[in-house]
Symmetry: C2
Subunit: 403 residues, 2 copies
């Protein structure tokens, strides 16, 4: 019995890339998601077992002959497999990390074979709450088991097996994605050359958990939530999910960047003295919340925030991150941003300190940027310079060992 099957409906992205020419030179161009079905049971940390599941992913660039130039991209709370390039010639926006992935970009697709997947429990193709539960014939909904960062790494390792990648040149992620990179270094020390953790943290603070709890409460309080069975009722908890996203959004931006973007600008010349939108920042948040609530699945949002809450690799080592890191064999790049108050530079420094104590190779940079947590998505010059130079070193290592 095969542990995975290639879905015949999906095409290789390579062919399509060659067809396109209307994209910027530093874009991977047109890409198409691929899919793999796994029928080897996955025992989850929560105690439940997923008998079968599907992972949707994209790849950019070419895998070299020795399969040594592969880079895994791990996504954050609301991300997915579409990290770079375009799905349609007329797409207005490229993938979520297109600023960092492409020819000549920090994750240079002329040199690396990049794999980006939608995580298990996601809502954009990979098996998750909005998929059929084979046991019931209904959508999983709230019966989809809670998955943890550790489970994601396990499922990603099977994807690596399927793609014939024995060792990642690098596992790279921002925010929750950085947690996956860290977990890879601990769970599969021999399969990771470098772990890159950007705007991340070794565990959430009480304040981080508090924000997540309010977001969850907003969703579960929505009468359209039906304890997670909203699909059955042909509805979605739009208002709750909108609120959850608005709460999250505040924590992605800095006070400074919100101030620069909106200040106290008003929608109309004079105040209306009511509870409609008066300030531009209200309008922006409402728009962002509404848009998100129309495309993202509420059960997945709950699941992703819980994966964040639970993450604490030091917990199994009496709270010692240094002891946890003793197992890692890779080198690390840790990057933080000065105005990120969600996962502040102090959180990254905790990580770096433990890595140094555990005698690991680690490079650390705090980037002075005004954009808060979102800075990991924004190609500011010093960030790009440091990220590029680190990835360049990896590509050089890879190419040297190949020649």
């Amino acid at each position: 019995m095969a542990a995975f099957t290639l879905d015949p409906h999906f095409q290789s992205p390579i062919r399509k890339q060659q067809m396109s020419s209307s994209f910027p030179n530093d874009s991977v161009g047109l890409v198409e998601p691929q899919s793999l079905k796994f029928d080897k049971a996955l025992a989850l940390v929560c105690g439940k077992v997923l008998e079968k599941y599907e992972l949707v992913y994209e790849t950019y660039g070419d895998l070299n002959a020795t399969q040594s130039n592969a880079v895994l991209i791990c996504h954050a709370l609301s991300g997915d497999h579409h990290a770079a390039g375009f799905h349609q010639p007329d797409d207005k926006k490229p993938g979520w990390w297109d600023s960092c992935i492409g020819p000549g970009k920090p994750i240079d697709t002329n040199r690396f074979f990049v794999v980006s997947l939608n995580n298990l429990g996601g809502c954009n193709g990979s098996t998750g709450p909005n998929h059929l539960n084979p046991d019931t014939g209904e959508l999983y909904g709230p019966d989809f088991p809670i998955v943890t960062v550790q489970d994601w790494v396990e499922s990603q390792s099977r994807l690596a097996d399927a793609l014939n990648i024995k060792k990642w040149a690098a596992v790279v992620g921002g925010s929750l994605g950085g947690m996956q990179a860290l977990r890879w270094s601990l769970d599969y020390p021999d399969r990771v050359g470098h772990a890159v953790m950007i705007a991340s943290t070794p565990k959430l603070t009480a304040q981080n958990i508090a924000f997540n709890e309010i977001a969850r409460k907003a969703i579960t309080s929505d009468p359209e939530f039906y304890e997670g069975h909203y699909y059955r009722h042909q509805t979605v908890p739009t208002k709750g999910l909108m609120l959850a996203r608005m709460i999250g959004h505040i924590t992605y931006l800095s006070d400074e960047s919100m101030g620069e973007k909106f200040g106290r600008d008003t929608k109309s010349q004079a105040f209306n003295f009511g509870y409609g939108v008066e300030f531009e920042v209200e309008s922006y948040l409402n728009y962002q919340g509404k848009r998100f609530s129309q495309t993202f699945d509420a059960n997945t949002y709950l699941l992703m925030t819980r994966a964040l809450d639970y993450f604490d690799p030091a917990a199994d080592f009496g709270g010692s991150l240094e002891d946890a890191l003793a197992h890692a064999k890779c080198s690390f790049l840790v990057v933080s941003f000065s105005t990120d108050w969600r996962f502040s530079p102090e959180r990254s420094e905790l990580l770096v300190e433990a890595m140094v104590k555990a005698k690991k190779n680690v490079a650390y940079a705090e980037i002075d940027a005004p954009h808060g947590h979102d800075a990991f998505l924004i190609p500011t010059p010093r960030y790009m310079a440091i990220f590029s130079s680190y990835m360049d070193r990896i590509a050089n290592e890879v190419e040297k060992s190949e020649s």
Copy 2:
């Protein structure tokens, strides 16, 4: 026609104070709210007019012969007139600012006559959304006009008239209360000796407004809100108000104080892998939110957050706080707290800078305290020392001019 009438149902708090002896020596003891009815129409900034209204207040200490020792306490978002002492002999908790008001405390009731009111639009006795609208015979609900900080100052000036107080020795407030103190100094420069602004700001930032907007959205999205007419439906938007309070609560505490209080402590030994309460901080927030939602009025919450949003006394002076302050005649004490990220020390420094430029007397202290915005309620030693010493100077001035 009298502009105000004393309510015969309310007693002077003085008598009761003398009856009690089971309270700490530095407590004002048993107090009883009083009430005044005003029938002189109040034209509000929003353009609407309140024909009649009632203000509920408490007083502590004795007014001196020349009425020169009166101090006005202005409350913050969820505060009320009950700032010090106890309503019942078996009350477990005293008024909200009992730490700072009482015999020998910074606002020393042996020397000052202290007045503390529930603001117009409040939900604890003064006329507000949960009062009868004389025009309709129904409760005001959402038809209660939006009141601004300026309107509060106007209504407070009428309370001062009624109490025969021509000039306050000091107007004192924390957070939104500090905004009222500032507005007093601008609107009634001859009626304020000193303005004390603690953990306050000259205007909200975009981030502050964003938090308020999400809180409002949580309330107005609750199906039990009925566009503010929930009283008619014999219900209250408990879940929305609970969420609003939880969101607010995060901004009152610092990341540091939440970490110290809860860290990542869990409710049970092992994780349950579900969306029930797993962490202590979730339990705390849920409890705080629930308790608040059972006692506070949702329409008042909306109104108070809007008063915060709109406050910007510099706006009438082309954005120049310095020009706005040119009208002030009082001296100022400004206090901020190092870990307050709701109204950070930088916000207070903006105020102080403008005061200095406008050549006003101003004393400023940033207190090193871990409690975030809530620090203004917590009697830490350096805070108490500075606050006491400033108020002591005022009392000395008052007593010197009397003798």
